[in-house]
Amino acid sequence: MPRRKGAPEVNAGSMADIAFLLLIFFLVTTTIETDAGLDRMLPPIEPPDQDVVIKQKNIFTVNINKNGQLLVEDNLMNLKDLRKAATAFLENNADGSCTYCKGKKDQSSSDNPTKAIISLKNDRETKYSTYITVQNELVGAYNDLRNREAQRLYGQDFTKMEADYLNPETPSAIRDDLKDKVKRIQDMFPQKLSEAETSTN
């Protein structure tokens, strides 16, 4: 006699167990990666075609020795003061061509932000953590100035504008708008951070 009932119902009681098993597996293997860091451009290896003459007063030299001490413009300096010194150098504005700078116009310091160069040198035995701290302070000096100008012109921080611009989830209409603004602020204080080859002595 054929059975009139359809296929018997599968017991779904153990579904939760199976799902839990999978869940625990993925919980354990998950690493929600937080990758963030300092973006830098290395200089190209080919030397420029012609030698560029740079006035000594437009270069802000930062030397780190193997003990992590700083020599800034031939003076020993505490790491905590570096950001302030770099900011003062960048917006010094000796030739008066920078209308938005608030520097002291010291004739023995940089002409204007587009000419100012920060040169960073380190010893082979310098610790990486010290190097990163110095890099962080120098980038911070640029960001402080850029934020100030962005606040004045557009009422928001440059770092936020740049992050929004680089974020692929921002709508393209907003990104197009931000592109010009970001570019303008970047041109006001172009980041010129040179890293020459390490000195060996």
Binding site: M15, L22, G37, D39, M41, L42, A163, P168
Partner: protein
């Protein structure tokens, strides 16, 4: 009377667990989507330094990773305790960095090959000598965009 006694012993009904699988599945799918399987296990110590002025590394497919640090305990007998470079799954010398970058670059699609970033994940106790050598190698193969990967935090904590 019988009516009342019946009500009395049924006063705490069991909580229905019928929706438990649904909840668990929801969590499961969340973790499945955010999971990124590690493609190489770390063979070096990798405590990154802190920095405040960080930028996020968007788009993982455009990043090449280089790890630097002291070999971990189990490898120290063979490789010593001086900081070493780890490329993918093995230790490497400085002069292998260039070929590694070129090989990784060749694996990527054509349109991404010019926008690659090299993420340097360096232990905070490493010396700059090794990093400078790596940077020199990167310059030789024209991989100029680098990212010193750090944790977010006060940079002055590095100095302790």
């Amino acid at each position: 009377m019988a009516k009342f006694t019946k009500k009395k012993d049924g006063d705490l009904p069991a909580v229905s667990t019928a929706s438990l699988p649904d909840i668990v599945f929801m969590l499961l799918f969340f973790f499945m989507t955010v999971t990124t399987m590690k493609d190489s296990s770390l063979m070096v110590e990798n405590t990154l330094p802190n920095a405040t002025e960080v930028k996020k590394l968007e788009k993982k497919d455009r990043v090449i990773y280089i790890y630097v640090g002291k070999p971990t305990q189990e490898y120290q007998k063979v490789f010593g305790s001086e900081p070493k470079i780890q490329l993918n799954d093995k230790f490497a010398n400085v002069d292998e960095v260039g070929t590694f970058i070129l090989a990784e670059r060749a694996k990527k699609p054509q349109e991404l090959q010019n926008v690659l970033t090299t993420a340097l994940k360096v232990d905070k106790n490493a010396n700059m000598g090794l990093i400078t050598d790596i940077k020199q190698e990167l310059r030789k193969v024209n991989a100029l965009k680098v990212n010193y990967t750090t944790y977010e935090g006060d940079a002055f904590n590095n100095l302790q």
